[in-house]
């Protein structure tokens, strides 16, 4: 899923200066799972902004709303009126939802309420870790199911580097060395001999390097 982290109240407050009616708009799927931008978090953010307004003695009407996903047209119908009411929106969605909402309401000023951090998993309550960088050409079949592109700080295709120490990455003792994990798993699978297979130079054209990407499937078009 997409993991996000809330921006500070002060940063959001600074962005909405000058507006009179602000809607804090939640997105209740990915960023709700990581407790950053779901409808509940939108409600709390709106309430904190109202307190801030009171402290600062600023006349501003701050409301909250939300939908299941800000990245699909069908969910917006129920909230069109709420959005029209506001003269600015703080979208609590990931960068995708923020942009999708902006495209739908082309004359409505829109601010991000969270930072989109990565594509990751919930390790345990309160801990999320990055697993994928959406490079568009999956190599997990060659790396024992652990992605060195997302999880090695140097995205080494043929690691580990000389900085791997006691299973940890040279940049942080809190970060597992992805190549240690790959080797451990190859060992567990009794396939360590595969370590010596050179992973070839990667075609990054399916990654960010190839420009903005698009998937078109005529078979599922309506």
């Amino acid at each position: 899923m997409i993991v996000g982290k809330q921006k500070s109240i002060d940063e959001v407050w600074a962005m909405i200066q000058g507006y009179k009616k602000v809607l804090v708009f939640g997105c209740n799927t990915c960023v709700a799972v990581c407790h950053a931008g779901g409808n509940k978090e939108a409600e709390v953010m709106a309430s904190m902004l109202r307190m801030k307004a009171k402290q600062e003695n600023v006349d501003i009407d701050i409301q909250d709303s939300g939908i299941e996903r800000q990245c699909e047209h069908e969910f917006f119908e129920s909230v069109t009126e709420r959005i029209e009411w506001a003269d600015a929106i703080v979208s609590m969605a990931c960068g995708i939802g923020v942009q999708f909402t902006a495209e739908k309401f082309s004359t409505k000023p829109l601010m991000p309420g969270i930072n989109t951090t990565f594509l990751g998993a919930t390790e345990k309550p309160g801990v999320w870790t990055e697993k994928c960088q959406a490079c568009g050409n999956c190599i997990l079949g060659m790396t024992a199911g652990i992605c060195p592109i997302a999880r090695c700080a140097k995205r080494l295709m043929n690691g580990p580097c000389g900085g791997s120490t006691k299973g940890k990455c040279e940049i942080s003792k809190d970060l597992d060395c992805a190549w240690q994990l790959i080797i451990d798993r190859l060992t567990a699978l009794n396939r360590l001999n595969e370590y010596e297979t050179l992973i070839p130079i990667k075609d990054w054209s399916t990654d960010r390097a190839g420009g903005p990407r698009k998937v078109v499937r005529e078979d599922v078009m309506v």
């Binding site: 140097k154 043929n158 000389g162 900085g163 791997s164 040279e170 050179l198 130079i201």
Partner: protein, 309 residues
Amino acid sequence: MNVKTPSKLEKILASGQLAVTSECGPPRGSDPEGIIKKGTMIKEYVDAINITDNQTSVTRLCSLASCIRLKLMGLEPVLQMVTRDRNRIALQSDILGAASFDIFNILCLSGDHQSFGDCATGQNVHDLDSMQLLQVVRRMRDEGKFIGGEEIKRPPRMFVGAAANPFADPFEIRVPRLAKKIAAGAEFIQTQCIYNLDRFEEWMKRVRDRGLHEKVYILAGLTPMKSAGMAKYMKNRVPGMDVPDEVVKRLSGTPKDKQADEGINICIESIERLKQVEGVRGFHIMAIEWEEKVPEIVQRAGLYPRPVV
């Protein structure tokens, strides 16, 4: 092993004589005097001089320009090239640039992470990794082809090297990793600095068990310690470094004003012991900002005069 390039380093290694290399870090400014001075200081005592490529991710005068300086002085540079800062266009381009000045040695590295340096908020590139860079240089040289497959007019003639760290984790893949680098095209290896000689000898034994010492020239890496403080720092703070307690104790037990001398003694004793290890074909002496000690180390270790080839 047959000689494939005009590299002096390759010729010495192929002749069966122990090679000696050293390295110099370029300055943090545009004055070339530092490189010229360091090169002049050690030129009679080493066969080739590595120039580091923005080591520890601190921005410096570039490796390529520094190598050209040495080359113009008649010295033999080893161009260190990391994959951190350049994509495949820039890497190939710089290789051609180096080849245009007849720089005949290259060391392919991934490079320290940028978070250690002066541009911690910058991007890293890693379009290729060090193994892939080895393959690229070999293909450019041996097949005369770019990554894209097009022909290179006047291909580079470079003796191709890589680094190996016998001490990093996990230990079980240290030898397979060397084998992988050889398969990727490495012809010489410069190792991480060796302080734990027992562990290095164990690694070399495993290298010999697979016959890898006959496929690649291994230069044992050495960095003399200046003080007990440096030993402690290397032991505790530098990733992938193995400094045994005995080394720290020996330096700590030496009066402060004699610790540097003791560091040189340890370095020379290590060389003497490593000379006995089958498969060690030379020494890479990395006297960090202490290049003036290289002549003494080389002389006292019985590695002087250097062969003429």
